[in-house]
């Protein structure tokens, strides 16, 4: 069968594809007009897009930016009345925070960016100090008052950590953990405020204080969102570990908590914050609605966080647990050194998605009377000057949220893609 033998004498150089197979024509044929029905669909959608643009365009081009009321706006132009945004811009961002001290939330925000930077990017570890100190700093800057109270509250963690770290030799790992927690609790209950008072009388470093009720606008959204997610992280880790635990009672408590929180709408939890929480605390305890809301929001977020982290734990190969056991690491060390760093890394996109969800859910606080951007809208619409204005206000709030959430969701998708390639 020698007739089948064939050897190519010279190689064929690559040729360009036929004209109908390249460029815009091919693209249009494949993507818009691959069949008659597809072509009709393309034209229809195009018509819809053009119609939307066409009817929205005059609204934007004829918009009015400078007016004192809606009727003034309508007299000046046919389009949107963005003057209301211009007039109330500060309220949308800061709520009723005293205008003289706008620099405080702004500085806090800048510090936040600086505190997040070492977590998100690989920067020198010393910068993490700022991250650790940030909660106290932020509280001090936003609420004002003496610097010593937040500092001493933070010191409780230091006390607990020190007891745990140095008590380990005497008490054993579990004993040290319990002792550490106890020490911190004792510090917070009995010592922190007298000590802070003492420091304050010696070195009175203080800012004028601002009431919680004055906080509002987008700043409030950020406060609730970020506190919620930051607070839910440790609680979520504990709950996730508890849910994975072999100890029946621990597991039952964690599952019960998680399923309860996930089973009820956030609004009912906010009702708990606004009406019930004071019942559960010792008689006479009174604190601002915002703080009560923050507690419940942390609970709420931590249940979802726990499920996200549980997903990360489940995604970890079993071999990792076995290898850690084989190295002779005990449960806490294995968890801290081997399991958690990997599980958390896997969960990061999920955590970002949780954050997006929580960020959007913060708008619910307007229902119980806090002045987040939606809470700011209501009095404006009730105001006789601006009565009847709809699209500009809600459009602005929607845009604010869209920019933040869309940005974060892109970031989380980027992380997911990066992680997929890293693992290869």
């Amino acid at each position: 069968m020698s007739d089948i033998a064939f050897v190519r004498a010279e190689a064929i150089p690559p040729a360009p594809p036929p004209v109908s197979e390249t460029g815009a024509i091919k693209w249009m044929r494949e993507n818009l007009f691959s069949s008659i029905s597809n072509g009709v669909l393309s034209f229809l959608s195009l018509a819809v897009v053009l119609w939307i643009v066409w009817s929205l365009l005059p609204w934007f081009t004829g918009s009015v930016w400078n007016a004192g009321s809606l009727s003034e706006c309508r007299a000046l132009g046919e389009g949107a009345c963005f003057a209301v945004i211009r007039e109330r811009f500060n309220q949308f961002i800061f709520g009723f925070y005293p205008p003289d001290w706008y620099w405080r939330p702004i500085l806090t925000f800048l510090l936040l960016v600086a505190a997040l930077a070492p977590v998100l990017f690989s920067l020198p570890r010393q910068l993490l100090l700022l991250t650790v100190a940030f909660p106290a700093l932020a509280y001090f800057l936003l609420w004002g008052g003496s610097v010593w109270y937040p500092v001493m509250a933070m010191a409780g963690f230091g006390v607990g950590f020190a007891v745990w770290r140095y008590g380990g030799a005497v008490l054993g790992p579990l004993g040290a953990l319990i002792a550490g927690v106890l020490a911190a609790v004792i510090w917070w209950m009995f010592l922190s405020s007298p000590v802070a008072g003492a420091f304050a009388s010696v070195l009175p470093l203080a800012l004028p204080s601002v009431e919680s009720a004055q906080m509002g606008g987008f700043m409030l959204t950020l406060i609730i969102g970020i506190t919620g997610i930051a607070g839910s992280l440790p609680l979520g880790i504990i709950l996730a570990l508890g849910r994975q635990s072999k100890l029946f009672i621990v597991k039952a408590i964690c599952v019960g908590f998680i399923e309860f929180i996930r089973g009820v709408p956030l609004i009912t939890l906010l009702f708990v914050a606004s009406t019930l929480l004071n019942y559960f605390l010792p008689p006479g305890t009174e604190f601002a609605l915002l703080l009560r809301v923050l507690i419940l929001v942390i609970f709420f977020a931590s249940a979802y966080m726990a499920e996200t982290i549980r997903g990360g734990l489940a995604a970890l190969p079993k071999g990792q647990y076995e290898a850690a056991d084989a190295l002779g690491l005990d449960y806490w060390r294995a968890t801290r050194l081997i399991v958690m760093p990997q599980a958390l890394k896997i969960s990061i996109p999920g955590i970002v998605n949780n954050f997006i969800g929580l960020f959007k859910d913060t708008t619910l606080v307007s229902v119980i009377g806090l002045l987040d951007p939606l809470g700011v809208v209501r009095p404006i619409r009730a105001n006789s000057d601006w009565n009847g204005i709809v699209w500009e206000l809600y459009g602005f709030v929607a845009l604010l949220f869209f920019i933040c959430c869309f940005g974060m969701s892109r970031y989380s998708m980027y992380l997911e893609r990066k992680m997929r390639t890293d693992h290869r």
């Binding site: 959608s45 319990i178 009672i249 089973g263 009820v264 709408p265 609004i267 009406t275 959007k360 307007s366």
Partner: protein, 417 residues
């Protein structure tokens, strides 16, 4: 000769509570339980003392006291003299109504948008991406309030439809009136209606029951025909064409019943300052329904897309290589696999929608949260009891759904080594 014995049992020492694996977990659990009980006792004690201080008690007696407020949307009869519990039931029914309406439309929107996002048509795919991203990245409450405000502030009042030179007119050939109080749409009426059954606490329309019965019977019959077609196919290899027969069985009897009962539309009419007749879709229900459907639809679209993408290209190729053509590849290979991926998140979206329907309180729709957690709570001051009941209701819904879902997941799990 060596004697093999069991490891020596050490006598119990107190230190073993922490160091011995047999006792350690028990010790920890006892400690945790103790701390938990302590915490619970502390909370309960605080609560009792707080209630005492306010002179309140913990009792559900208020449920049988007349509610004293009106609810404009009623699925069952209700007056303001009815007890709080009936108001709560009304609220729960309204929640369920909204949830069912929302789930149906959200599924339709979500499936269409999800499939369209995978379309080869560039413009359609882009448009759907814009829709999905716009709704996923803006809070639901903003959408609800926006739609509510748009209905209230931009649509004409009912009396604008009045008179010779009315400034507004009904749409769809005078069938639907879009007003700032909501939409008035035609209602189905029957000239030879079968009447209603009195159940004491509520009425049920016999016409409605008849249609439900016919629909169920039609679906059963259609399933039987499907099974018959399967049997014929497995016997002879040829599958009889039964699609139209099955479709006819499902909708045919209902159409016949419509004719027999003398079906006609009751159009909304302007009488005095308002519309009468027809069905009034209230502004609040409308805003919630539209917003919940579009919002949840965007999430469902993502689930549907992910489910279809989860079926690897190799599966489609292998099925095509066997000579199955496109619709069969979809029905026999892609969909059965995609459904396993889609259904669990779909059900949790339904659950989310039901929980999100509690935002009704922001626009004054009288759902469970609006009645039990809203007016009843404020009027009776029984915050503890009301919120407890409210949470119990939502928890019951959630737990039921997750039991169903777990059963489904167990059944549908792919068998692997």
């Amino acid at each position: 000769m060596a004697v093999i014995t069991d490891p020596q049992k050490e006598p119990f020492r107190i230190g073993m509570l922490l160091s011995d694996t047999r006792y350690r977990s028990l010790t920890i659990q006892v400690i945790v339980l103790f701390l938990f009980m302590l915490f619970a006792a502390w909370v309960v004690d605080n609560t009792i003392r707080n209630l005492d201080a306010l002179g309140k008690s913990f009792s559900f007696a208020f449920l049988w006291v007349p509610a004293g407020y009106d609810i404009n949307q009623r699925l069952i009869a209700y007056t303001s003299q009815d007890p709080n519990i009936r108001a709560a039931v009304l609220g729960i029914l309204n929640t369920l109504l909204l949830a069912v309406m929302g789930c149906v439309t959200a599924t339709v929107i979500g499936v269409m948008a999800g499939v369209a996002r995978l379309s080869k048509n560039w413009i359609v795919a882009r448009l759907m991406t814009v829709y999905v991203e716009a709704f996923r990245n803006v809070p639901l409450l903003v959408w609800i309030l926006l739609i509510m405000a748009a209905v209230n502030d931009t649509l004409p009042q009912p009396n604008a439809f009045r008179g010779e030179n009315a400034t507004a007119s009904m749409v769809l050939w005078d069938h639907v009136a879009l007003t700032n109080r909501g939409f008035y749409v035609p209602e189905p009426l029957f000239t030879r209606s079968l009447g209603v059954i009195e159940l004491g606490f509520m009425q049920i329309s016999l016409d409605f029951l008849l249609f439900v019965g016919l629909l169920v019977a039609g679906i059963v019959a259609s399933l039987r025909v499907g099974a018959w077609a399967d049997a014929v196919q497995s016997r002879t290899g040829e599958r009889p064409a039964v699609f139209w027969v099955r479709l006819g069985l499902v909708i045919g009897p209902s159409l016949v019943a419509l004719l027999l009962l003398g079906f006609h539309l009751g159009l909304p009419e302007l009488r005095g300052f308002n519309f009468v007749g027809g069905i009034h879709l209230r502004d609040s229900l409308l805003a919630l329904w539209i917003a919940l459907s579009l919002y949840t639809g965007a999430f469902i679209a993502e689930n549907v897309r992910a489910g279809i993408l989860a079926v690897s290209k190799g599966q489609t190729e292998a099925a095509s290589a066997l000579g199955l053509h496109a619709s069969r590849v979809m029905n026999l290979v892609v969909l059965p696999q995609a459904m396993r991926v889609i259904i669990p998140p779909l059900i949790s979206q339904y659950l989310n929608l039901t929980k999100n329907s509690s935002l009704a309180i922001a626009v004054g729709y009288m759902d469970a949260t609006g009645t039990l957690g809203g007016i009843t709570l404020n009027q009776t001051g029984r915050a503890m009891e009301c919120i407890l009941l409210l949470m119990a209701f939502y928890l019951a819904v959630s737990l039921t759904v997750s039991v169903v879902m777990n059963a489904y997941n167990d059944r549908m799990k792919l068998k692997e080594r």
